[in-house]
């Protein structure tokens, strides 16, 4: 044991998934307890991120190495309790009951012990082998809270390891304790919470009624407790397991004690209260912590919005001042020479093969990949704000505005992410707890102008509007957001009948961000973007290229051109000719493809030819209409794919596509005629 404490723990992770022979460690914890930080610390880059089977809840798993022993680590969803209120809670408890992890590491916050021990009380009731990781000792100190780990350990009957995961402190000690539990050196005898005395008999009675009928692997006393708590999933299970008459008897007992739920919960908090009184020195009354001081501004109904606007402005400024030159550099120094090199290398190859590889693949996927620096900067800013604890404040101050759409503050977070890219925005709607609110957010998220659309605007606007381009760009962003708010309000009335979900959210304490957590988040998001570029975008780019090549080998007479000519009458209403119409269609694989397509049609004269040719071919009214349509058009195909994945429904996906098609065509027609009327 002594050498265990002195030897450095190596956590070189390898990714061998579902290797069931390895000891299984589960990480459990409430949100904002630093659970992800700990998971990232242990598994590093070698983690597998997927979904729980049949659910759109993220599942993270990894394998890591401790002094030569390999362990399998599963990150359970962050939940406040283990009662069946959400898919996350059911996943967490089903995993513990069915997979029987050798150790469950419960991450709790020393700065927030009273609330975070609630989950530990639930875990102890499951008879899980719990080791408590007492995280955020630094935040506790900063807030003036002092916790004595050894006293807490004695009171809980569970091993308690103090740590600061964001600074990697206490991790080695935690792993040592886990190892002791695995090797049987350390036995766990939790002092479980009990229901308050006046409900003890009822619990006994229910236990007797269900004895012998509870399906494996559920513990009988736990099932009885959950029935008292009114847990819908457990009630459904027992209704099937018991005979109708026996179930009726249970129902009668439960109905006579419908306050039992509170008794169970209060029993847990009483138990927690005893732990706290033993182990915690509370801050003196009247002491104002850092969080409270910052929140006087950050959560103020007026100054909070000013601060949010400032932060948003700064993020966009950073993204575009740092990211845009980088993107231009990548485009000019890497992609274009690469395309030139490939064209030379393939000089002897058939014309179609060269075209497909150079224009279809490098031109399509390459131009999408040049957006990576912009996205990385944006994701990093977002991850930083999230990790500091600011995002909850952004959601809070935006709550009033989101009410216009029948949504609440939490929906603002994914929408904000949408300014970078709509794909993570739609995945980010997972933070919203109610399904109607989540669906509505998914439907309106594509109306947030992403960086790719802003790139089209940044190219076209200066060509037609010169010095006024900046105002046109801002106007287009505001216009998009206006459409977003009004369509959200409309959808809420028509489809969701104005129902609204409850807004209740923890405001985490501010803390110093962790570079590793931010880095991994950026890495994962960037990686999924690159994967998307290599698969769906690649396939669509090739398809569009083939359609623009067949049957004659000339884009002007291709299938794509014929299709553009076919629907030209619609395009005409918006001030487009068939080439602008085709450019719009090719923006489906990736928005910025519109420019590439225009390049094929008009850029033959090389160099700065494209801008000049465009300016002399189209009126400003057509250009403005084209920009409006681009802002509102059918989401890019990656967004459509992720919409299908997250809603698991073609109906909602098609609704999203047709709704945006309708908006963009209407918007284009109105703006074109208005602009003509105004003399543009």
């Amino acid at each position: 044991m002594s050498d265990c404490h002195s030897a450095p723990v190596k956590t070189t992770a390898q990714l061998v998934l579902r290797d069931v022979s390895l000891p299984l460690i589960a990480l459990a914890g409430q949100p904002n307890m630093g659970k992800s930080t700990l998971f990232n610390l242990l598994t590093g880059l070698n983690q597998h991120v997927g979904n729980w089977p049949g659910k759109t809840v993220e599942r993270r798993e990894g394998i890591f190495n401790v002094d030569g022993d390999e362990w399998r680590l599963v990150d359970l969803p962050g939940t406040y309790s283990l009662t069946a209120n959400s898919p996350e809670e059911v996943i967490a408890r089903e995993f513990i009951l069915r997979e029987q992890p050798a150790v469950v590491v419960a991450v709790v916050s020393a700065a927030n012990l009273e609330r975070s021990l609630y989950l530990v009380a639930e875990l102890a009731a499951l008879d899980a082998p719990v080791v408590v990781a007492l995280n955020m000792m630094d935040v506790a100190e900063q807030e003036g809270v002092c916790v004595e780990p050894h006293v807490l350990e004695a009171a809980l009957g569970l091993p308690v390891v103090p740590m600061v995961a964001s600074r990697s402190e206490g991790v080695r000690e935690l792993l040592c304790v886990v190892q002791e539990v695995l090797s049987g050196k350390r036995l766990i005898r939790p002092h479980s919470a009990e229901v308050s005395a006046d409900h003890y008999e009822i619990l006994q009675k229910i236990e007797e009624l269900i004895a012998g009928y509870v399906p494996l692997p559920y513990p009988e006393n736990w099932v009885a407790l959950k029935l008292l708590e009114g847990d819908v999933e457990v009630a459904r299970m027992m209704r099937e397991a018991l005979s109708p008459s026996a179930w009726e008897v249970v129902q009668v007992v439960l109905r006579a004690h419908d306050d039992a739920f509170m008794a169970v919960a209060s029993g847990r908090y009483e138990w927690i209260g005893r732990m706290i009184r033993a182990a915690v020195t509370r801050p003196r009354i009247g002491q104002i912590g850092l969080t409270e001081r910052v929140d006087r501004w950050a959560a103020h109904p007026f100054w909070g919005l000013v601060l949010l606007a400032g932060i948003l402005g700064l993020v966009f400024w950073l993204t575009f001042t740092l990211g845009t030159p980088l993107q231009g550099w990548l485009d000019g120094q890497i992609i274009t020479p690469l395309a030139g090199f490939a064209a030379d290398a393939l000089a002897g190859a058939p014309f179609w093969l060269r075209g497909m590889l150079v224009d279809g693949m490098i031109g399509g996927v390459g131009s999408v990949l040049t957006f990576l620096p912009i996205l990385v900067i944006f994701f990093a800013a977002f991850a930083l704000l999230e990790d500091v604890g600011y995002m909850a404040r952004a959601a809070y101050v935006m709550d009033n505005l989101m009410h216009l759409m029948g949504l609440h503050g939490k929906s603002f977070l994914p929408l904000f992410l949408g300014f970078g890219c709509n794909v993570p925005a739609i995945m980010g709607t997972r933070v919203i707890d109610s399904w109607p609110a989540r669906l509505l957010t998914i439907l309106i998220a594509p109306l947030v102008p992403c960086t790719a659309r802003m790139a089209v605007v940044a190219f076209i606007a200066p060509v037609f509007f010169g010095v006024n381009a900046i105002w046109v760009s801002w106007g287009l962003v505001l216009f998009s957001l206006l459409v977003l708010v009004s369509s959200g309000a409309l959808l809420n009335r028509v489809i969701f009948k104005g129902q609204r979900s409850a807004f209740i959210m923890e405001m985490p304490l501010y803390h110093i961000p962790n570079a590793r957590t931010i880095g991994l988040l950026v890495w994962q998001r960037a990686l999924s973007f690159v994967k998307k570029a290599g698969t769906t975008i690649l396939a669509m780019s090739l398809l569009v290229w083939i359609l623009s090549f067949l049957p004659t080998g000339d884009m002007n007479t291709s299938f794509l051109a014929r299709f553009g000519q076919l629907i030209e009458p619609v395009g005409k209403l918006m001030g487009f000719d068939w080439r602008l119409t085709v450019a719009l269609i090719t923006s489906f694989p990736a928005k910025e493809n519109a420019i590439a397509t225009l390049g094929v049609f008009f850029g033959n004269s090389a160099g700065s030819g494209l801008a000049d040719t465009l300016a002399s071919t189209f009126s400003s009214a057509s250009a403005l209409s084209f920009l409006v349509v681009t802002m509102l058009f059918i989401p890019c195909m990656a967004t459509v794919a992720v919409t299908k994945q997250e809603t698991n429904s073609w109906r909602w996906t098609l609704l999203s596509v047709f709704m945006l098609l309708g908006f963009s065509v209407t918007g284009g027609i109105v703006v074109f005629h208005l602009a003509r009327f105004l003399g543009l």
Partner: protein, 82 residues
């Protein structure tokens, strides 16, 4: 206003005011969420931010929790410390 022990909706509490949770007028799922965040009958709450409109922030069991005004109105509290 009469000082002392009154039953009011939590949304009516002033900033800095203390209260004790008595009851919820809410559905089962919302009730469960309130409980898991620390709101149980008998729990002490301290209003941290309430501008009379929009959402508010209340401290319960050492946690700062943001609630919509409508949600806060469903929590009945007794003014003052027990």
């Amino acid at each position: 206003m009469v000082e002392g022990h009154q039953r009011i909706a939590m949304s009516e509490m002033a900033v800095g005011e203390e209260g004790t949770v008595l009851d919820f007028q809410a559905g089962c799922v919302f009730q469960n969420r309130l409980v898991s965040l620390g709101f149980t009958p008998g729990a002490q709450v301290n209003m941290a931010q309430n501008y009379g409109h929009g959402p508010l922030i209340v401290i319960v069991r050492g946690t700062r929790v943001a609630l919509g005004r409508g949600e806060a109105a469903k929590i009945i509290v007794e003014r003052g410390i027990q």
